[in-house]
């Protein structure tokens, strides 16, 4: 595909179709388009999306009965949500059931969506008979906020293709004053009432994101076909107004994302709506990267003035070296998502990037990470610490349905470990099963430390689910400080399954789930995450992981997080630094250390020699006849560095 053609194709994808056409126009899935002329070669591709199906009363009952069953039977946060928000979703669904046939299509979906979103759980979503899965209603600009929480300023940080916005003055950097004649801050707060999120700041963060991007698979479309925006150029430019229509686009999934039905798909912790929005942002604002995702080619992010390292995991990762006057060069690793099918490949790519980045210090930026594969998040932690990683643990709701699911011979591999405690709960009255890790502790420590410099992790209320798990693991395993833009992470603490996963797992039990109407589905939190370490036993759901508070600045939004990076650099410079580098050749092993006073050596997991007292410099020993060699460096008794290497002996 030549550049011109590629650009046209990208623009077409960014343009999508107008929301008005999507909602009110002719359905391409039905009768042939009368207005269409010609066909075959040269015909313009039909980007329109079929209109939503209308459900009859029986189909609505099917949906409600299924949701009553699964929310009452396997929804792992039910006791917590009842306590936190004084609500009873099962009773609400029962009430809705009584009037289900009398409601209009719109009323039905609105009522149902309200009950589910009332759980304030982004994992648990109802997906109505969406016109097409994966569709996202989008405005071609990105809004972000900076300044204090109670007096934020909203700014357009990015705009998409110029063809999509007629007003040439509406560009990156303009300050937003109103949204459909409502003061902008008020509009965000009003929209936050419809959003998930356990804390007000989390709801606002998600509202700000979904104000301009709505995953139609997970929620209703915007009420209006276009928005009237009042804005001004900073700092006190003329107040201007512009009208921008909503468009519906298909962000698609990247090649590296997890595949439905794969083994990995049972170990997902993610906000599906946020993931769709993340992909949409990529389509709208980093089009070349989005194109590369589709073809699976390695590419560097295309931010202006910034040199990113080329990676084939560009959908999930971005890395660059940042200059800092006080600390020298630092590494900056953006982890956009953990939505990968192959966590081994993902971790291997992170290791490759770490090798390129300077070892003075590392900023791990997980803001806006909507989660993904739990294994990817929890196994990644080990690369940054000499400590043995303890993963989070997960509980099932103790109920007849979960017991039946765990007892099914077809689920032995998946649930056998939970079964004894689920059965014991009948006698103990425990509301939950025993918590068990989804990432085996051995898998969390199968590689060991790869980055020896100090590390800081940056999160925000849109760091969600597997992102929450990473942040929790970062704190609980004492890897380094967490900086939080907002109060805490997004607080999504669960493993998420789809209706299809549950249907398969409940087959052959007395709780078998029926088929839902076409395109109707839901996602549900089924295993509840609990933290380890000092926070052992604390749930992540609704609480999140707090960190060192940071307020974004205008420079952060427009100058590649300049102030945030400086803030993190300050934190990194305050962490005592040690160094350990290991080199192996045919005959010798060389260990260069700095800041360490003791060195321990292990061969195949056993001590090789007495503890060495060391000072800064190089140390050598003959290459041993072993499969694995491990060095542990201490400073004042505390383990600061650890390296494990395979020697491929024999």
């Amino acid at each position: 595909m030549d550049d011109q053609h590629a650009a046209a194709s990208l623009l077409q994808a960014q343009t999508g179709q107008l929301l008005s056409d999507f909602l009110l126009g002719e359905s391409p899935g039905g009768e042939p388009r009368r207005r269409e002329r010609g066909g075959g070669r040269g015909r313009r591709p039909d980007f329109r999306i079929p209109k939503a199906q209308v459900l009859d009363g029986g189909e609505r009952l099917q949906i409600i009965d299924t949701l009553i069953a699964v929310i009452g039977g396997v929804y792992c946060h039910l006791p917590q949500k009842r306590a936190a928000y004084a609500l009873d979703p099962v009773q609400a669904l029962q009430l809705l059931r009584a009037q289900v046939v009398a409601l209009s299509e719109g009323e039905f979906h609105l009522a149902l969506t309200s009950i589910i979103s009332g759980l304030r759980d982004a994992h648990t979503r109802y997906s109505g008979p969406a016109a097409k899965q994966g569709a996202v209603a989008a405005l071609p600009f990105l809004v972000e906020q900076y300044g204090p929480y109670d007096a934020p300023t909203f700014v357009v940080s990015k705009v998409s293709a110029p063809e999509l916005i007629k007003d040439a003055r509406f560009k990156s950097g303009v300050i937003l004053e109103s949204w459909n004649s409502i003061p902008f801050a008020r509009a965000v707060d009003l929209h936050a009432d419809r959003e998930t999120g356990g804390r007000p700041d989390a709801r606002r963060a998600r509202a700000l994101e979904s104000l301009t991007f709505r995953a139609l698979e997970c929620g209703p479309p915007p009420d209006e076909m276009a928005v009237d925006i009042a804005y001004r150029a900073p700092p006190r430019g003329t107040l201007r107004e512009t009208r921008i229509p909503w468009r519906v686009v298909q962000p698609e999934r990247a090649q590296i994302n997890h595949q439905p039905g794969s083994r990995a798909s049972r170990y997902i912790a993610a906000d599906p709506a946020a993931e769709a929005v993340r992909r949409t942002k990529k389509l709208m604002f980093s089009g070349n990267v989005w194109e590369a995702d589709r073809s699976g080619t390695a590419i560097a992010h295309d931010e202006k003035r910034v040199k990113w390292i080329r990676t084939r995991f560009q959908d999930a990762l971005a890395a660059r070296i940042v200059k800092n006057s006080s600390s020298g060069d630092l590494g900056y690793l953006r982890i956009w998502s953990f939505d990968v099918e192959d966590d081994d490949a993902f971790i291997a790519e992170v290791m490759r990037l770490l090798d390129i980045l300077p070892d003075n210090g590392l900023i791990l930026d997980l803001r806006g990470n909507p989660g993904g594969l739990i294994w990817a998040a929890e196994r990644l932690l080990q690369l940054f610490t000499p400590n043995t990683i303890k993963p989070a643990r997960f509980s099932l709701l103790a109920s007849p349905m979960t017991r039946a699911m765990a007892s099914s011979p077809f689920n032995r591999m998946e649930f056998e470990a939970w079964l004894p405690s689920l059965e014991a709960a009948i006698a103990t009255g425990e509301p939950y099963s025993q918590p068990l890790p989804l990432t085996d502790p051995a898998w969390c420590n199968d590689i060991g430390q790869k980055y020896g410099g100090p590390v800081v992790c940056v999160v925000d209320p849109n760091t969600y689910s597997a992102g929450d798990l990473f942040a929790a693991g970062f704190v609980d395993n004492e890897i380094g400080p967490v900086v939080c833009v907002g109060e805490a992470t997004g607080a999504g603490g669960a493993n998420v399954w789809t209706h299809f996963d549950l249907r398969e797992a409940l087959r052959g039990t007395s709780f078998e789930l029926s088929v839902l109407p076409p395109d109707v589905g839901y996602t549900l939190a089924i295993r509840r995450a609990l933290r380890c370490g000092a926070a052992d036993g604390l749930p992540i759901e609704d609480l999140g992981v707090p960190g060192i508070a940071y307020e974004m600045t205008l420079d952060d939004l427009l100058q590649e997080n300049r102030d945030l990076i400086a803030f993190c650099a300050g934190l990194l410079s305050g962490i005592p630094r040690t160094v350990m580098k290991v080199q192996i050749d045919e005959r010798t092993v060389s260990i260069t250390t700095r800041g360490l006073d003791e060195l321990e050596t292990y061969m195949n997991g056993r001590p090789f020699e007495a503890v060495r007292r060391i000072s800064d410099g190089a140390h050598q020993l003959p290459r041993p006849d072993a499969e694995i060699i491990e060095f542990v460096g201490r400073r004042n008794g505390e383990i600061c560095q650890r390296r494990r290497l395979g020697l491929n002996a024999g």
Binding site: P260, G261, R263, R412, M413, L436, D440, E504, V515
Partner: protein, 526 residues
């Protein structure tokens, strides 16, 4: 389709119209009618008169006649203890273990158990369930088995395909499902109580019970079965090798025990106190158990039983032993199915096996000794439900067997009438079955993932789910989620041959805890 098999009939029947004694044999014919049941068993050439008198002669006007000469026509063998999901796996021992295991809860905790047994078996059930079943059932047929217990839990009944799967058999819909219940895993008291009720309502319950050394703690499983009311006539207890002789007194209305001496000796160094059980009137059956600690088929296990009987001085005759794989388990099944099995007599199921007579023996060799000494090479024809499924080219042709493919067993050619599990009677060959199993061996990860995606796609589209099986044995010490992180790390051992071969005998010597007793098995095959 009706079928007549003429040869030396070994009916093992108590029907005095057929034979004067249970151990009688005679030249004659077995008549299997259109209803797939035995219509008559006749002596000499008088059968035509018998059939005419029964008013069913029209059924046999065009029936193929298979004349096996002096070869033995025997009830199809019944294996009441197997685990089909583990059939392709080789014998297993925990490396460096020097003392026998105490009981069945110990060996699954050993470090190599999951990687050697659970994970390879999982690869097969997940990626090639139909091929796995085909392999296991063909292996049973090769050993003359017509009914087998131990089908893995399945999302669809395994009924009416190849050999009879005892837990799923409905006799073509004549009987309801769940007439035969089974459990490999130890049940809780309330579950045992439910089984007691089911048995009183007519079900048969096959239960792994008290498997271990006599002094071990699992003896309490037998006491629990007693306390729950399970010690009934319809209970079939597998193993009970941990039970002391006096405890059998509590089984006042005795049922049956399935004896698997190979597995017992391999794992525990001892076996069931068979004479004590027999002394209490408990019926005795033989089961081959599973690949990791069992024989390839019940015909092989019969020889192990003989070895043990001889070594311990129990004095079982070949007739006693042959009954343990025919009439005794047949009587157990007859209770559940309300049809005679394991005996050749009018009204019984049309299941039989032809065993080569012992040509080197005296002019009137003991047929039971011939059966005891028979190997896979001596199995000439296997008929299940009146259908010839496996046999020599000549006999399969005589039986008008349709859609057969060639199969080689111990270097000898046989024909196999196999159709695809889900394929409208589309023929299927063992070669194809093996090819798919080898694909799973070569790349467990890719084949498992691909099968999972197909299953998931069926759920998404609402299509009928593909065949799904589950493991029925302990999974062992595994990570949460049951599997290794990297599925490509699953190492599937070579798929074992269908028959007892030299490599099998070589793998017995110096392994397990049988103190050399099982080394004698190879002599039956030399």
């Amino acid at each position: 389709m009706s079928l007549i098999v003429a040869g030396r009939i070994v009916p093992l029947t108590k029907d005095r119209k057929v034979a004067q004694s249970e151990n009688a044999s005679f030249q004659g014919r077995v008549w299997i009618g259109d209803d797939d049941r035995i219509a008559a068993v006749s002596r000499g050439t008088a059968g035509a008169v018998t059939i005419t008198n029964s008013g069913r002669s029209a059924e046999f006007d065009n029936a193929p006649v298979v004349d096996v000469g002096n070869d033995l026509v025997v009830p199809g063998f019944i294996d009441l203890h197997s685990h089909l999901a583990y059939a392709p796996l080789p014998l297993w021992t925990e490396p460096d273990r020097t003392v026998p295991f105490q009981h069945h809860d110990i060996w699954p905790t050993r470090p190599t158990y999951a990687e050697s047994i659970s994970w390879p078996a999982y690869a097969f059930i997940e990626a090639a369930p139909a091929e796995l079943l085909a392999y296991a059932e063909i292996r049973a047929l090769v050993g003359g088995t017509t009914s087998i217990q131990g089908s893995p839990p399945s999302n669809r009944p395994l009924d009416g395909w190849l050999v009879r799967n005892i837990e799923d058999e409905t006799l073509g819909g004549e009987i309801g499902r769940h007439q035969v219940l089974a459990s490999t895993l130890t049940l809780k008291p309330e579950q045992l109580g439910a089984r007691a009720i089911s048995m009183r309502q007519g079900a048969t319950f096959i239960y792994h019970c008290a498997e271990g050394r006599p002094d071990s703690i699992v003896q309490r499983e037998y006491r629990a079965a007693h306390a729950a009311g399970c010690l009934q006539r319809r209970l079939v207890a597998i193993h009970t090798n941990a039970v002391d002789s006096a405890s059998y007194d509590t089984w006042s209305d005795p049922g049956a025990i399935v004896w698997s001496p190979f597995s017992n000796l391999w794992l525990y160094g001892t076996t069931t106190d068979v004479p004590s059980a027999l002394g209490r009137g408990i019926s005795l059956c033989i089961g081959s158990d599973w690949g990791p600690s069992g024989t390839r088929n019940v015909l092989g296990e019969l020889k192990v039983a003989s070895l043990v009987s001889e070594a311990k001085g129990w004095g079982f005759s070949p007739f006693d032993l042959v009954k343990m794989i025919t009439a005794n388990p047949g009587d157990v099944l007859a209770e559940a199915w309300q049809r005679h099995a394991g005996r050749l007599q009018p009204g019984a199921l049309g299941d039989l096996v032809v065993i080569a007579s012992d040509a080197e023996a005296a002019s009137r060799p003991d047929p039971f000794k011939s059966i005891l000494r028979a190997t896979e090479a001596d199995v000439r024809l296997v008929v299940v439900n009146g259908k010839p499924l496996y046999g020599t080219e000549q006999l399969m042709q005589q039986a008008s067997a349709a859609q057969t493919s060639r199969i080689s067993v111990n270097g000898e050619t046989r024909r196999l009438a196999l159709t695809r599990f889900e394929g409208n009677d589309e023929p299927w060959s063992y070669k194809d079955v093996l090819k798919r199993l080898e694909e799973v061996r070569d790349d467990p990860k890719a084949t498992i993932e691909s099968a999972r995606r197909l299953a998931f796609a069926a759920i998404r589209t609402g299509a009928p789910p593909p065949l799904r099986l589950a493991l029925d044995m302990p999974t062992g010490r595994v990570p949460v989620g049951g599997l290794p992180k990297d599925l490509s790390k699953i190492i599937v051992p070579p798929i074992q041959p269908l028959e007892h071969d030299e490599a099998f005998f070589a793998s017995i010597h110096g392994r397990g805890f049988h103190e050399g007793l099982l080394d004698g098995l190879s002599e039956f095959y030399s």
